[in-house]
């Protein structure tokens, strides 16, 4: 022991509850037993969870191998989206049987009284699109046409071209 602190010695100013040292051994042993038991249960649970996860993985891989997906996507490649166009919706699919009168330009083969469209390379025109401008004008009443003409003359944003001027002079 250091001679400098001889007068102090090893005495401690801290009290200890009565019977503390008598009882601490059994109390600690009881805690140690509980801790070991609960850690054993936890270890068992972790093992069960790991086994379940492994089994799930194996089953999932097996299912994937037995039923491969129809379309394989390669990693990093972006597949273009298929956008449904009006033409695609309206145009009959190859092999479709359509009545003769509704047929529009395209590759046509005769099959009895009907025609079969084989492969339309260009968008197929519909009945509405094929209506001519003259038919459209004919269906508009004369009064309506006159009103439109008056509106056109008063329209400040309408740019007067040579054609327009000549038409007016006529």
């Amino acid at each position: 022991m250091e001679k400098e602190f001889k007068e102090i010695g090893k005495k401690m100013p801290y009290p200890v509850p009565e019977d503390f040292f008598e009882n601490i051994t059994e109390a600690t042993l009881e805690k140690a037993r509980l801790r070991e038991r609960s850690s054993g249960k936890r270890r068992l649970l972790v093992q069960w969870l790991a086994a379940a996860a492994l089994l799930t993985g194996v089953v999932f891989t097996g299912i994937r191998m037995l039923n491969p997906p129809v379309k394989e996507f390669s990693a990093g490649r972006v597949e273009p989206l298929e956008i449904a166009t009006r033409e695609a919706i309206v145009a009959p699919q190859p092999g479709t049987v359509v009545p003769e009168e509704t047929i529009s330009p395209g590759k046509i083969t005769n099959s009895g009284g009907n025609s079969v469209i084989e492969s339309p390379d260009t968008p197929v025109a519909t009945e509405e699109n094929s209506e001519s401008l003259e038919d459209l004008l004919a269906s508009i009443p004369d009064e309506t046409l006159k009103e439109w003409g008056a509106l056109l003359n008063n329209d400040p944003f309408f740019e007067e071209t040579e054609d327009n001027a000549q038409h007016e002079n006529d």
């Binding site: 250091e2 102090i8 801290y14 200890v16």
Partner: protein, 182 residues
């Protein structure tokens, strides 16, 4: 009939065997609980904390006795576990360094307890130790109170002997200074 005296090696062998584990544990605690308790108490001061850390230390020994390879003494291993647990607690509770009121004893007569007339100087001494940096405090306590060799302290704190000697020297100087000033 007196109990046979067990060596540390025998206690460890009992602890490692599941059949005699509890017997080994009782023997171990009976031999070391007071020493380890006071080592912890000097570091954390409060009894409740010292009790918790003491229990945690021995529970670790109970659970991991199988990992003790016998490369150091059993007591050194215990001090090492207790010191690590105490340091961990101290890091969590920075307020532990604050002045702790010394409570009156529940029932006088415990070993090492000081009568009131001697209390003041002993309290001052503990105060001086508590104001030391952590490493110096550990070295001082292990050397002064537990009378461990520098080699053993080196194994507990994982430090070279020369550094421990320096730490101890500075600790003494600071304590002396503190006592002179106060």
């Amino acid at each position: 009939m007196p109990m046979p005296e067990y060596h540390d090696d025998q206690i460890i062998a009992l602890l490692k065997d599941p059949v005699s584990k509890e017997k080994g544990f009782r023997l171990l605690m009976d031999r070391y609980k007071e020493r380890i308790y006071w080592h912890i108490r000097r570091l954390v001061v409060a009894h409740e904390e010292a009790e918790d850390i003491l229990q945690e230390t021995f529970i670790n020994v109970y659970r991991f006795a199988g990992s003790f390879k016998g490369e150091s003494k059993l007591s050194t291993w215990l001090y090492r576990i207790a010191t690590n647990e105490s340091i961990r607690w101290l890091k969590k509770q920075k307020s532990a360094r604050e002045e702790v009121k010394v409570a009156k004893p529940v029932n006088g007569g415990q070993e090492g307890y000081v009568p009131v007339e001697e209390e003041e100087i002993v309290r001052k001494f503990q105060q001086a130790i508590r104001q030391l940096p952590e490493k110096q405090r550990l070295v001082f306590n292990l050397r002064y109170y537990d009378e461990l060799s520098y080699e053993e302290i080196g194994q507990i704190l994982n430090s070279p002997v020369n550094a421990l000697k320096t730490n101890y020297h500075y600790a003494k100087e600071k304590i002396r200074e503190f006592l002179l000033k106060n």
